[in-house]
């Protein structure tokens, strides 16, 4: 007997409704907030309707565009480095390496540490007077460097901290994907005379391209949302050199007490992330085989 068309909707309906509400409610709330001038700690009834003023201010504010540029550069450098390092590590450790369990555990540890702790750890590591990094440099006769005191080095510091924390995520995704590559296909490639390089880049990686795409997408989204580590490490400074958009939104909302303005910039961030996600999915959509 053929299942009526409405049956799947009955089964899926409640879950879809809950998911849609969980996603849509905050989104619509943020959008609504963007049209009001409301300060945290005051009753919502006191919020003033300002129309598109907050959106207009966001688009005209040079700090927003500066933060967006910083965010794009941060995301590009971090995600690129994390993808390359994560994939390289997974390829290096996918086989039967001695003490494999130890290495895998070691590599995923940073990912499991709370971002605030990561921020504090790196703040101490980069400390100009007492940090480990300067201590190592001192062994080679190098004068202490104020890592968090100059724009370029501070930006490098937040990138290093992010790469350290999130490369393991790429590693764990990739090592799982590589473990599922059909050994027979690889064997066939080797029989056909493919060397390691050809096997890796023409057989293995194309076979896990869907996982690479989804990992890239997840890292990209996360890179736009990072806040705590930068908050602790540099608070966006020196100047505004490490103020990425999420930190700018935080400051607008909780320092400037302009929740409407923060919501408007959040919508801008959402558009950017959605656009980049669409682009990443165009590279290789892991769901396209499922389309009917």
């Amino acid at each position: 007997m053929r299942t009526p068309a409405w049956v799947p909707w009955v089964y899926l309906g409640p879950a879809v409704a809950v998911m849609a509400a969980a996603c849509l409610y905050p989104l619509l709330s943020a959008l609504q907030l963007g049209f009001y001038d409301w300060s945290m700690g005051t009753p919502w009834g006191e919020a003033k309707w300002v129309g598109l003023d907050a959106f207009s201010r966001a688009f005209q504010d040079p700090s927003v565009w500066r933060s967006l540029r910083t965010t794009l550069l941060f995301a590009f450098v971090c995600v690129t480095a994390e993808m390359v390092l994560g994939i390289a590590l997974a390829l290096a450790l996918e086989g039967q390496v001695r003490a494999m369990a130890f290495f895998r555990t070691l590599f995923i540890l940073p990912m499991m540490i709370a971002p605030i702790a990561v921020g504090l750890t790196w703040r101490y590591l980069f400390d100009a007077q007492f940090g480990l990094i300067n201590a190592i440099l001192a062994v080679f006769g190098h004068a202490p460097v104020g890592w968090l005191a100059q724009e370029n080095t501070a930006f490098m510091a937040i990138i290093i901290a992010d790469i350290w924390q999130w490369t393991p995520f790429v590693f764990i995704m990739m090592i799982a994907a590589l473990a599922n590559v059909d050994g027979a296909v690889l064997e066939a490639a080797r029989v056909d005379g493919a060397n390691w390089w050809q096997t890796t880049f023409r057989v293995k990686l194309p076979m896990v391209m869907n996982v690479i795409a989804i990992t890239l997408l997840m890292r990209l989204i996360d890179a736009f949302r990072v806040l705590e580590v930068i908050y602790i490490l540099t608070f966006g400074g020196p100047g505004e050199s490490t103020e990425i958009l999420s930190l700018h939104i935080y400051k607008t909302a909780f320092v400037g007490q302009r929740l409407g303005g923060a919501a408007a910039i959040s919508v801008l961030l959402l558009i950017v992330v959605a656009g980049l996600s669409w682009f990443a999915l165009r590279l290789s959509n892991p769901l396209k085989d499922e389309e009917r």
Partner: protein, 446 residues
């Protein structure tokens, strides 16, 4: 019987150890009895003074029967949580510790209670409290809202908070280093400016440690110099004047501090600033009196016994900061009376001494005058002198200050410190932004 038990208990154990006095609590049982069993939820920051305060709380519960639950957060995250809690019809907090800069905003948003009704309530007020003994500058700075400029003492000012963890700035210097190189602590900014490169050169360590991180930290450091040099952020009509000659001079001085100080000052928060001094990486410290309790603590300091204190050097005037932390009762507190009793107990003469003995900072003149306390902290002599110059108007703590402080001045000062912009260029660059904020706040017409 109950009173006797209380006094007997008070005579020994922790209370005796901390030196809290007895008479206050001899009369206390009726005042506290009604609230026995209630729990006061207290929002505090991770901060040396409050770390010490927490050790006193079991004694409060023992004496009064009022329990205390502490919610401790990093200073930077505390305000968001407090705002969220205090905006609810019924919040979780009964008593909050706040940073001085938040007082105007909390009152403007109708989030905290005026304290006069509590102090006038005979059922709650302690007759031995001696309000006038609380450092008046601290009361003005931490507690008063609604007076001149909205935050100073004068017509319209009302009491909304009590200083607890309040501070001013003093100059601490390494006695051993100064003696070795035959140097003298600076009396004024001319001497100060000359001393910095000499000290750096001779001592081989940073001359003066300082905050410098973008945002509040670097602005705090700049304001420390701006005020004695005669500058202000706004004129009497709230027009920005921080970019005038004095503002630029103060910023150039801070740049000199950064260049001759320990490496990395433009990235220093308060923690790094203090650590670099305590660990012997800087010969001078000019900041909060909070450092008193830490200098001679061997677990934190390598310079115990080598530090002397003088008042903040004079520019065109004597001036030092006035700030720090206070206690207030949220409008939506469930146990407001019990919270007041805790606040009153903590800020009493006896407990002010008690918290100082274990690393806190004084809020009362009697603590700074007490011979035993002065033996433990000879620096209280300097502190008393300094408090005469402490300026409650050293920064404009209007509700808009946080935004100006962090998102405008905090960027400009930081950019000047790293050398990205010249001091004048950096300060001029944010005048439109600050003007815009002041217009939005209704201080300027626009």
């Amino acid at each position: 019987m109950k009173r006797r038990t209380l006094i007997q208990t008070a005579g020994g154990g922790a209370l005796g150890l901390l030196g809290a006095g007895l008479p206050l609590f001899g009369y206390a049982q009726d005042r506290f009895a009604k609230y026995k069993g209630q729990t006061v939820v207290l929002s505090i920051p991770a901060h040396p003074h409050y770390d010490a305060m927490v050790k006193l709380l079991p004694e409060f519960t023992k004496q009064t029967g009022i329990k205390v639950e502490v919610d401790k957060l990093a200073m930077a995250r505390m305000k968001d949580k407090q705002l969220l809690e205090m905006a609810k019809p019924s919040g979780d907090y009964d008593l909050i510790c706040y940073v001085v800069m938040w007082k105007g905003e909390y009152v403007k948003k109708n989030l905290i209670r005026e304290l006069d009704p509590f102090f006038k309530n005979a059922a709650l007020a302690d007759p031995n409290y001696d309000f006038k003994d609380v450092v008046p500058r601290y009361v003005e700075n931490m507690g008063l809202v609604g007076g001149p400029k909205g935050y100073l003492a004068g017509p319209g000012a009302k009491l909304y908070g009590m200083p607890y963890g309040a501070e001013t700035s003093v100059l601490a210097y390494r006695r051993d280093i100064f003696a070795k190189h035959n140097l003298k602590a600076p009396d004024n900014y001319t001497e100060f400016e000359k001393l910095l490169p000499i000290l750096k050169d001779k001592a081989g360590i940073g001359a003066l440690t300082s905050r410098g991180q973008a945002g509040h930290q670097c602005v705090h450091a700049w304001l420390l110099h701006l005020n004695p040099l005669g500058g202000k952020v706004f004129d009497d009509k709230w027009n920005p004047i921080f970019n005038n000659e004095t503002g630029v001079k103060a910023l150039n001085f801070l740049k000199l501090v950064s260049d001759t100080g320990p490496v990395g000052i433009p990235g220093y928060g308060q923690g790094e600033m203090i650590t670099s001094f305590l660990q012997g990486q800087a010969a001078m410290y000019l900041d909060s009196s909070l450092i008193f309790g830490q200098v001679n603590d061997p677990s934190k300091s390598k310079i115990a016994g080598q530090v002397s204190y003088v008042v903040h050097p004079k520019g065109v005037r004597h001036s030092s900061q006035s700030g720090g932390l206070g206690l207030a009762i949220p409008k939506n507190a469930k146990n407001a009376d019990a919270a007041f009793l805790l606040m009153q107990w903590l800020t009493s003469k006896e407990q002010d001494k008690a918290v100082c003995r274990i690393g806190g900072v004084p809020s009362r003149n009697s603590t700074m005058m007490d011979q035993d306390m002065v033996r433990q902290y000879p620096e209280y002599i300097t502190l008393r002198q300094q408090l005469e110059y402490s300026d409650p108007d050293w920064r404009p703590i209007i509700a808009e200050w946080d935004e100006i402080n962090i998102q405008a001045l905090g960027v400009a000062v930081s950019e000047a410190l790293t050398g990205k912009k010249k001091a004048k260029e950096a300060l001029d660059g944010i005048v439109p932004k600050v003007t815009d904020i002041m217009k939005r706040g209704g201080y300027l017409k626009g």
